[in-house]
């Protein structure tokens, strides 16, 4: 397992410490704290019925944000349903992320300059599409990568294998993440496969694979940076397994992790909390203080409040909106139905 910071926030791998400025190191911490707050608030807002579909992210900050931090604006993101934070840090406004959660098409309308598709619900589909995006970039001669994420359970899908194999066969610039949080809803990773690591699945595609401490933001960043450089230099895709954990349930739709997870396991992983260890590291370098952390927390809470307000104020969807987004030119059946619903909506 590739690691740079241990659980105590000590550098254990001097050689691979990424070249980040003090300001960048602090920015990483701000983003992780912000995203932890976002998770707590999202769970609360979901319970109040002010958000809809929500897949908790606490515990995965290093894995999600350390990887996104290594990307360029022109890189293309194909997230899974738990990967909303990466989209937000890539530039999706918070209120749109909330509209995605609620089920409003505007939440999926990526703003100009945010190169991404909305979170994929079909596990594995983002993998085969990433191979296509990456091949497209290669054909265009772009120095960019397609980046996609799935979970441990997702590695059992056919599209997972097809995606990495296609990207390998075309030597396409793709980075495939497997965020192994040990559970696919209630099913432990041991029931997905007899393979000892998920990173070794890269061997089947003949591509490079690496297993990274997914609670170590510096290791995730360094691995992603490495994969990105290889990819844009024409050396093909890479599979990165991040060993991580979700502290919360699978989703907020009634999943209860106490049915399938032991308290011991939860405690074991809480000791590895990416925020705790990175905070220790930054404090040892005199780069972080409680005051700074509180500032981030307050800022996050305030922005979340504003974003929810903005989501509330966004116009409600009409059937005619849904129809208008189906085709460039409406076929006869939708033209007819459009008239019908225009009439209904005018009453």
């Amino acid at each position: 397992m590739f690691q740079i910071l241990n659980d105590d926030g000590k550098i254990v791998n001097e050689e691979d410490v990424p070249d980040l400025s003090d300001e960048q190191l602090k920015e990483l911490m701000r983003r992780m704290v912000y995203t932890r707050v976002l998770d707590q608030r999202s769970i609360a807002l979901n319970r109040q019925g002010r958000l809809g579909f929500y897949a908790p992210t606490a515990g995965q900050e290093a894995s999600q944000l350390g990887s996104q931090f290594a990307l360029e604006q022109e890189d293309f993101l194909l997230p899974g349903y738990r990967d909303v934070p990466q989209l937000i840090w890539q530039g999706l406004p918070l209120y749109q992320a909330f509209l995605f959660s609620r089920g409003h098409f505007h939440g999926n309308q990526m703003p100009e300059g945010v190169h991404a598709v909305s979170p994929q619900i079909i596990i594995g589909a983002q993998y085969v599409q990433a191979a296509g995006v990456a091949l497209g970039m290669k054909k265009r001669g772009k120095k960019n990568v397609a980046v996609t994420y799935t979970g441990d359970g997702g590695t059992s899908q056919g599209d997972f294998y097809e995606g990495i194999n296609f990207a390998g066969a075309y030597k396409a610039p793709a980075i495939f993440f497997v965020q192994n949080n040990r559970f696919a809803i209630s099913v432990p990773v041991e029931k997905q496969t007899n393979a000892k690591t998920l990173a070794q699945k890269a061997v089947a595609a003949g591509i490079e694979g690496i297993q990274v401490d997914g609670m170590d933001v510096l290791a995730v960043y360094a691995a992603t940076k490495h994969a990105r450089e290889r990819a844009i230099n024409g050396e093909g895709p890479m599979l990165i397994e991040t060993l991580t954990y979700r502290y919360g349930p699978h989703t907020m739709a009634g999943d209860d992790p106490t049915r399938y997870r032991t308290e011991d396991l939860d405690n074991e992983w809480e000791k590895k909390d990416p925020l705790v260890r990175y905070r220790k590291y930054l404090e040892s370098k005199n780069l972080w203080s409680e005051e700074e952390e509180n500032k981030v927390i307050d800022q996050a809470k305030e922005e979340i409040k504003q974003a929810i307000k903005q989501a509330d104020q966004y116009p409600k969807q009409k059937v005619t909106d849904l129809m208008a987004n189906m085709y460039e030119e409406l076929p006869y059946n939708l033209q007819e139905q459009m008239e019908e619903y225009k009439e209904k909506e005018s009453k």
């Binding site: 993998y127 194999n165 076929p331």
Partner: protein, 325 residues
Amino acid sequence: MAQMTMIQAITDALRTELKNDENVLVFGEDVGKNGGVFRATEGLQAEFGEERVFDTPLAESGIGGLAIGLGLQGFRPVPEIQFFGFIYEVMDSISGQMARMRYRSGGVHHSPITVRAPFGGGVHTPELHADSLEGLVAQQPGLKVVIPSTPYDAKGLLIASIRDNDPVIFLEHMKLYRSFRGEVPEEEYTIELGKADVKREGTDVTLIAYGAMVHACLKAADELAENGINAEVIDLRTVSPLDIETIIESVKKTNRVVVVQEAQRQAGVAANVVAEIQERAILHLEAPVLRVTAPDTVYAFSEAEEVWLPNHKDIVEKVNSVMNF
């Protein structure tokens, strides 16, 4: 005008669009150097290079995903699924993904993809090559489904499909690939999607068909004419969306209809055509709208195709029931 088989017309359409638009990419299993298992892409890689016409690993779902991803990078993908029976492997990419791309992104992204695939019976293919599965994709909002029956239609419809900025499923009946030649203009032309074609004008009964069944209907119409029944034959050409105007206009003229498909009765699109007619023209009907279809079994073992596939005799018989209702 040149005399072409349908497969030549398809190759000609692909060549035309590869030439016209540098974003057009043709890919699939064996479509490159080999020129396709039916020679539909013969010579295209040699002419346009491996960057434009290329082979893929053997995985239909991957091909679908590849097309979607390339579409997101501004390309105009024309992937091939070797036989439409293999669509089950790529059902998510087609119906679950590319069909929904424009809608789910609120119009930010789209999938200008044309999926070509051969299908259709009568040539003794092995299992799951000939199945008519157009009914499955016709039920998916966001797709258009095109099925030509002549070389002329194939070229104009394929060019229009490739130029369409939304996903089109373009199904090519294997029996029609080389069974006859037809006049095809050498220059480029398009046929509007969603427009049916009256292949034979008539006054007594309307036969609505698509694919190989168009020719079965024409043959049946000749036979019926000998008995004084003047049948009009409508070739749907696009099975989703349907050309309601052409259908209803004909029904109002003939007042009797038979819908003909090669697919099983519980499949295909015939039931949809019948429903549209009864909603829109019931007062013009002298008899119920009847269907000619295959029986509701799994597609026939190849030696049983002859007794299983619907043919012109089944059509004549059904027309007689409608005439004598």
